[in-house]
């Protein structure tokens, strides 16, 4: 059986984006068949980029919350863009066709893009799904304002949970900096293609 993770050297968390870094744009295929870039969004103030996927039970546990983020923040200028980072050969549940199926079934209101070369995943430094990046538009480009877990309560058992992404975007919307700019994201390691 193919162990996609073993052959390829892993990226340490140090290599990924941290708050304060500039984030690269992308041109990735959406489930609609068209490509999507952040540059397409002329009126957005920023973005909630979520590396997520079909197969991972943790990503599944967060799916409704990811959809809710777009419901809440797209109209306020911070739309969600979901990116599936995994190798569909090693993980067929994450195939493009299955992504299309899921996005349609759940009625995603946001792009669900496939990172076919995994170059964007590498650039952002995501290690697991789901991982969120809150980006803010500046005249110099897109700054990373938050990296990490969506909240600190996978199982939604704690009403007093810390909603990291919501708190970050709420702060940015009133021209403040997020108080928490990073957190660790417990999830399924990214399924890397073999070299």
């Amino acid at each position: 059986m193919l162990t996609a993770a073993s052959a390829l050297a892993f990226k340490t968390a140090d290599n990924g984006y941290k708050a304060g870094d500039m984030a690269t744009d992308f041109k990735l295929k959406n489930v609609t068949g068209k490509t999507v870039s952040m540059a397409d969004y002329s009126s957005a103030k920023g973005f909630i980029i979520v590396f997520t996927c079909n197969h991972c039970p943790v990503a599944q546990a967060y799916e409704k919350r990811i959809m809710a983020l777009d419901q809440k923040y797209a109209a306020k200028g911070y739309p969600v863009i979901a990116i599936s980072p995994n190798d569909p050969v090693a993980e067929p549940v994450d195939s493009y066709a299955n992504m299309q199926k899921r996005a349609a079934e759940r009625k995603y209101t946001f792009p669900y893009l496939i990172d076919e070369t995994q170059n964007i995943t590498r650039a952002y430094g995501a290690q697991a799904t789901p991982t969120a990046y809150v980006l803010r538009k500046t005249d110099k480009g897109l700054t990373v304002e938050y990296v990490g877990a969506i909240d600190n309560d996978q199982e939604q058992s704690n009403p007093a949970r810390s909603k990291f992404v919501e708190n970050a975007v709420d702060a940015l919307l009133i021209n403040k900096k997020p108080t928490i700019t990073e957190s660790k994201a417990l999830g399924c390691r990214i399924v890397w293609k073999n070299s």
């Binding site: 892993f10 340490t12 140090d14 991972c56 290690q127 877990a149 996978q154 704690n158 660790k184």
Partner: protein, 150 residues
């Protein structure tokens, strides 16, 4: 969230542990500790678990302790973790780690840990060895880890 301890009393195969208890356990000298962090929801974790179990089996009379520490959903203990462990009859000790916050636990285990599973901690206090790996392990690789750090 209240943990139904009665569930775990019935099942001696999965022991509850806190991070503090884990750190105390693996700091004992004269033993090599290989701590694998896994979950039933993690496919690659489940695939490599037999390699860890085999290592414990092969070296069961040596100063090696393999600990399989589950980061499963607490709400799925009865429905996921315990049935899994019952089915697979493992040689190595299986633990469920209780925590208030995943983020806090991840940083306590190792500051460099991204939080992705699987991950493995290798500790030999007598030899001053403390290594953390974010990768899967074949049996050969685990055997090398044992030979290098024992």
């Amino acid at each position: 969230m209240v943990l139904t301890l009665s569930v775990l009393k019935v099942n001696a195969q999965v022991k509850l542990i806190t991070n503090a208890e884990l750190q105390e356990k693996i700091s004992k000298p004269d033993t090599l500790y290989i701590v694998n962090f896994w979950a039933t929801w993690c496919g690659p974790c489940v695939n490599e678990l037999p390699n860890f179990d085999k290592l414990q089996r092969v070296y069961k009379n040596k100063p090696l302790k393999v600990l399989l520490v589950s980061m499963d959903f607490q709400s799925k203990l009865k429905t996921a973790l315990i049935p899994f462990v019952k089915k697979h009859k493992m040689q190595a000790d299986v633990y469920f780690i209780t925590r208030k916050s995943d983020q806090e636990l991840i940083d306590q285990i190792d500051k460099s840990w991204s939080g992705a599973l699987p991950a493995t901690l290798v500790v030999n206090t007598k030899k001053g060895i403390h290594k953390f790996y974010e990768k899967t392990f074949s049996y050969t690789e685990l055997n090398n880890i044992y030979q290098t750090n024992k």
